[in-house]
């Protein structure tokens, strides 16, 4: 027999914690009503009694009904006849006391029998009572004294009280069940909140121009917070987005092992087009080799339509096996990430296509003049460098790079005879030459996505002192893009060979920039430009040489045709 402290109810044959708790909750009411309260199993075996009840009940009635006790057989016989819809049954099993039994139901089944005991009005040491006391080793005189302390209850009242306690107990059990249900729902809700906030966080990071590796790194770290796993990784095997697999967390694999795992996962995810769950890696023929590093694996595909682009995988949940909840969560994350991935791939494709077209266009322009080979690309690089130096944001810097590439696009409209003339230009020829910024601006005006770089093209021949063309704007009225490209353009012109002269040495070009600061150039920009070290210039230009070689080849092809 074990006494459960919390309830004060003696419990044997644990009939469910909620029953014990419910009985403990209603026991004080029974004591107050002068009634004994017992709970028996459907077979009549006493499961619980209230040890705080009056001795008449706790020492005499309970003992009489005990298993192996004097009335066991009779009790069992009567208990078996209790049905879910049985009305209160009066049992005459213990001398001096009347019992009333009602069924306790859970899910329409009789799970227990609630027995109320009431003292009869005539309680005296009859022959029957003495005999029972002997068997229970109780003193009949003492028992009569104890009985005198308990009020008597009529059969009618006992039946009424039984119905009352039956419904009290039923309500208690129902409340307990509801509370349990509520807790379980709250738990599920908490998980749903967690997932929602995780997905929200991950989709917040879905900017297509973000570096892919950064996005997946953050996504893996975020998932690890919610899904307590030892390792979380990503594979991107599809040719559209291929990159090296990555693994974060505490599982350490060598590059070779990680690649092997990535290859296996890529193949399996491709085959299944669904998730892969292995809760015992060491006994799985395909993954036994991974057994010493991890025990469990969950992988889900990064999939768009039928195309598997890659996958996310988790290693070793800290709390045991991976289950359907983990699978569902990781699948949601993978679906979100796959949308990002597809968009990023499309964005990359479009971006590459556009940049390719822009480069072709500028190459075509540069090709019109053998001596300006690679000029546009160098101006773009220098402009980008300068823009970054003055602290412009990433996207502004990229736009300036593009403006640099296209700054001379208007030369398409200038005759080659003018562009390639070795001698001095006549005033008419110079007028033709001076039209190229406006022609360039007109060419770009029809491309909505390039509208914002027009100022760089239109104003790159304006001078800070207002003596430039085409508009004669001065000082800060000249858009910044124009001022930056002007500086880069002049510098590159000076440091390149031209039809009419050889390239100036770098130092000479720089001192020329210094000299023209404030007249031709924005002095603030010139100052930043002059702080760029000669080494940096050389490096910028060297980076560009490979490109230049390709352009030269292109020029030759164009000229030959």
């Amino acid at each position: 027999m074990s006494r459960t402290k919390a309830t004060g109810i003696i419990e044997r044959n644990a009939g469910g914690g909620e029953l014990t708790a419910a009985l403990a909750a209603i026991a004080p009411h029974a004591r107050a009503a002068g009634l004994g309260l017992l709970l028996a199993g459907p077979d009549g075996r006493v499961l619980h009694q209230d040890p705080s009840a009056a001795p008449l009940f706790s020492r005499y009635v309970a003992a009489a009904l005990e298993r192996g006790g004097p009335v066991e057989a009779a009790l069992a016989h009567r208990a078996e006849r209790i049905r879910p819809d049985s009305p209160p049954r009066l049992w005459d099993l213990v001398p001096g006391v009347q019992l009333c039994a009602v069924p306790v139901l859970q899910r329409r089944q009789v799970v227990a029998i609630l027995i109320l005991a009431g003292r009869r009005k005539a309680f005296s040491a009859t022959e029957d009572l003495r005999r029972l006391c002997d068997r229970l080793k109780l003193d009949a005189g003492w028992l009569c004294q104890q009985a005198a302390r308990v009020p008597s209850t009529s059969s009618r009242r006992l039946v009424i009280e039984s119905r009352l306690f039956q419904s009290l107990l039923r309500d208690r059990l129902r409340t307990a069940a509801l509370e349990e249900e509520l807790n379980s729902l709250s738990n599920q809700l908490a998980n749903a909140y967690e997932e929602l906030s995780l997905i929200d966080q991950i989709s917040g990071g879905m900017r297509v121009n973000r570096r892919r590796a950064d996005f997946f790194r953050q996504a893996c770290l975020d998932v690890m917070q919610v899904l307590a796993v030892r390792g979380m990784g990503v594979i991107l095997h599809h040719e559209k987005c291929r990159q090296a697999p990555a693994l974060y967390g505490q599982v350490s694999l060598s590059d070779a092992q990680l690649n092997r795992l990535a290859d296996q996962l890529a193949q399996l995810l491709e085959q299944r087009k669904g998730c892969l769950l292995v809760n015992s890696l060491s006994t799985d023929p395909a993954f036994a080799w991974l057994g010493e590093h991890a025990t469990r694996l969950l992988a889900v595909p990064l999939q768009r339509g039928e195309q598997v682009l890659g996958g996310l995988f988790a290693l070793d949940k800290t709390s045991g096996d991976f289950d359907s909840v983990d699978t569902k969560l990781l699948t949601s994350i993978a679906n979100e990430s796959a949308i990002y991935l597809e968009n990023a791939v499309l964005f990359g494709d479009v971006h590459d296509l556009m940049m390719g077209l822009l480069h072709s266009l500028t190459s075509a322009v540069d090709a019109k003049d053998a001596y300006t080979c690679g000029h546009s690309e160098r101006v773009a690089l220098l402009s980008r460098h300068l823009a970054a130096k003055i602290g412009l944001g990433d996207s502004a810097v990229e736009r300036i790079y593009m403006a640099g590439l296209l700054h001379d696009v208007g030369k398409i409209g200038v005759p080659e005879s003018v562009l390639q003339k070795t001698g001095r230009l006549t005033p008419e020829e110079f007028e033709q030459m001076k039209k190229h910024p406006e022609i360039g601006a007109r060419i770009l005006a029809d491309v909505r996505q390039l509208e914002d770089i027009i100022p760089g093209v239109l104003y790159h021949h304006e001078r800070y002192d207002g003596r430039g063309y085409p508009t004669g704007l001065a000082g800060r009225d000249i858009p910044l893009m124009g001022r930056i490209i002007c500086l880069a353009d002049c510098f590159d012109a000076m440091t390149s060979n031209r039809t009419y002269r050889r390239a100036f040495p770098l130092e000479v070009a720089l001192s020329e920039i210094r000299r023209c600061s404030g007249t031709q150039f924005d002095p603030a920009l010139a100052e930043v430009f002059l702080r760029i070290s000669c080494d940096q210039f050389r490096m910028l230009l060297r980076d560009h040489q490979r490109q230049a070689k390709r352009l030269l080849e292109l020029q030759q092809i164009l000229r030959a045709s």
Binding site: L185, S186, L189, A190, E194, S197, D200, Q225
Partner: protein, 128 residues
């Protein structure tokens, strides 16, 4: 260490249940209130160690609740974490001196809320 008591005020019962469950499982004693007025009563009687309150509530808003707690020396030191609808920003001028130490926007992560609670209570923060 004695058990810390946390008062959670929100008119949405599902939020109350989720927050209570998370905090109770972490060993805190939790009392709940379904509007600002009830929360004020509860705070005065129970003197919780921390208040977690929704901003939009009937009777008294979370901000008004914090303001009233602030006026009473007995409850002025109760630090608060405020939950707001997503995309809703409170003017820092309004929350200044209201005892609100942290803001979380719904849908919040219960894990993050618990972490925030642990952090605020461990730092022994008093409402500023």
């Amino acid at each position: 260490m004695d058990t810390k008591t946390i008062l959670v005020a929100d008119d949405e019962s599902h939020i109350l249940h989720v927050v209570s469950l998370k905090l109770r499982n972490a060993g805190y004693r939790v009392i709940t209130a379904r509007d600002g007025r009830e929360a004020l009563e509860a705070a005065r009687h129970e003197r919780p160690d921390l208040l977690i309150t929704d901003y939009h509530m009937p009777e008294l808003s979370g901000l008004e609740l914090c303001g009233l707690l602030k006026q009473d020396p007995a409850t002025a030191g109760i630090p608060a974490i405020m939950l707001t609808a997503r995309g809703y920003f409170l003017d820092p001028a309004d929350t200044d001196g209201s005892g609100i130490l942290r803001m979380l926007s719904k849908p919040f992560s219960p894990r993050q809320l618990l972490a925030t609670v642990n952090e605020v209570l461990a730092s022994g923060a008093r409402a500023a």
